[in-house]
Amino acid sequence: MFAKTTKLQRLATAGRARRAFSAAPLVTERMNMFTALNDAMRVAMETDPTAAIFGEDVAFGGVFRCTVDLKEKFGEDRVFNSPLCEQGIAGFAIGYASVGRTAIAEIQFADYIFPAFDQIVNEAAKFRYRSGNQWDCGKLTFRAPYGAVGHGAHYHSQSPEAYFAHTPGLKVVIPRNPAQAKGLLLASIRDPNPVVFFEPKALYRASVGEVPVGDFEVPLGQADIVRAGTDVTLVGWGAQMRVLEETADMAEEAGVSCEVIDLQTILPWDVDTIEQSVRKTGRLIVSHEAPKTGGFAAEIASTIQERCFLSLEAPIQRICGYDTPFPLAHEKFYLPDALKNFEAIKKVVNY
């Protein structure tokens, strides 16, 4: 553990962190993403005695180790295995939250969230609205690993955020690194609305970084400018941020300055930050792993086109997964990698 004054401190001093750090250096610890998520849940459980964690195989620590040691720390009543039934996990979580208690429910893979779609879309999302604010299930968070992992094929690779982004009443959040993962998960657990929190499983171990110690939140609904630039705006989230940073490096070598933005919250999303960036750069590329048609890039592109019509120097590009199921042998060809994004940069710059 050592002190570090980086962007994390900027987050804290900008009033974004929960703890009052004032000008003192932010104490951080080196963690990978699953450890950071585990740390977030530990803090949530310590600070809220009503909080409970459940899902398939969470008791022994989870198939991705995110809930390791939590049962030992907080007891079998608060950290427990559910039967293997996603609609049950979701319904149970909604009911638990409906009586004012904090539910942290895990869906083992985002690919398996669809059996719970009805509970999430028809129930959780509309709970407050339909009752005239008499009832709510706001103290509810669904966590699910999402995205490509190299060999996950159809059902261990999907990125279903756009399905949920079409549902008023939900928040959809995706972190890109350990620090964001901890801060965003704690904010999601404490947000008074139901949140679907997708974790890039490819980064559980691969992404390592400095994470603030103790209670720490990153606010929902705000995009994060990861790298400032002047020629092209690159927008993405989750694991795709690594690809976009690689793309920005390639562009820089070619003499093009990219502004790289992590959306972080898919719904409700931070229009302002993207809009300001595109007014400055005049060019926008949105990139996600999910298929192109109906993907969330379409929403961003359409909104920015409405708001920045006179600033745009080139058509907005969407660099996405193809409109096929997620393939096994052809994963490398399927993914919107840095080279595909770099090609898009060349296109908008030379337009």
Binding site: Q87, G88, S131, Q134
Partner: protein, 424 residues
Amino acid sequence: MALRFVSKSLARGHRRFAPTAKSMSTVVGYGDFPGGQKVPYVNKLTVVDPKEKDVIPAYRVLDQQGKIVEGGSLPEGLNEELVVDLYKNMVRLNQMDNVFYDAQRQGRISFYMTAFGEEGTLFGSAAGIKPRDMVFAQYREAGVLMWRGFTLDQFADQLFSNEDDLGKGRQMPVHYGSRELNYQTVSSPLATQLPQAAGAAYGFKLAKEDRISICYFGEGAASEGDFHAALNFAATRDCPVLFFARNNGYAISTPVKDQFRGDGIASRGAGYGIPVIRVDGNDIFAVYEVTKKARELIMTEGRPVLIETMSYRQGHHSTSDDSTRYREVSEIKFWKDTNCPLTRLKLFMLEKGWWSEERDVSLKDTERTNVLQSLAKAEAKGIPHISTMFNDVYKEKPRHIQEQEQEMLEHLAKYPDHYSSTGH
């Protein structure tokens, strides 16, 4: 206590699964598999066929002539005052259903669903639980809310989706809810409330509250995956929840022969390790006693219980349904004439000298008048302010929704005469 727990009769039935006269097989050892309890090995191939099992009996106190059955007695806790009160509420619900059904036919409200024939089930169970218990309803349970004190004005306000509707005019009629009365707001998707009830009950358990969830659903909804999810979750987490199935014979037009092949809903409890009780749903005394007993069992044993009430849907499924297209008028008439929960209770009360025909006529008149007054009041109120359409999507109002609200208000300002704020 006249009531015997079905768990005992289930245990008896279980022995019948072991080889009977047909194939005399012998236990030749036991398997200690992690996937089961200690499982006996037998030396003859045995098919376990539910057709060979006894039908789970329905508990009854009051017969169809309003007399206490042989060997039965008025359940503990029921006295003249409470019985008369239950009957008055049944009549009130009945009159409310009559008036609002007609109001829908006249186009004054957009939709309605009656509870004809199930009044005994509703008030019997409502009186058998505590006011602090959390109700998760399907939609045909207005009687439970009425018993808890929801007023005719409140019902009418919801039906007219007016400015005083607690739900702010957002949901279809009969989707009632009341935080004050521990009655979670009804939603249309069937059976979604079942795993929710289990989750809420688990919360009560961790909070060490003397409180259960009671979850109502029809026999059709029990075919949904959420039924399976709920019973299994409730059993494995030992949740203090009462699953209350209203088996009224039909899910819209679908008779139970197209809905399931087992012995109703009750027979499923055993498979989940949940004690079950089947009860005559047209017998309010039996329903009351069974519900009370189930609550006791839930609290003392710390596990869920499943009740199945056998009843009959006397009315149409809803105002959008003409049930004579799939069932005979004579069948409906048969149930109304020979096995109506109101008539059975009334005959009992008349016999006891607790009620009279004169009081009956006057009560019906009074309640009808009360409902008509509430209807008139609710009809005269305006709909909630247009801006409230954008509230409560989230706890806070995100910017994009604020912008859409602003857009709509500007549009309305431009075309003030184009949008009527009355009618449905």
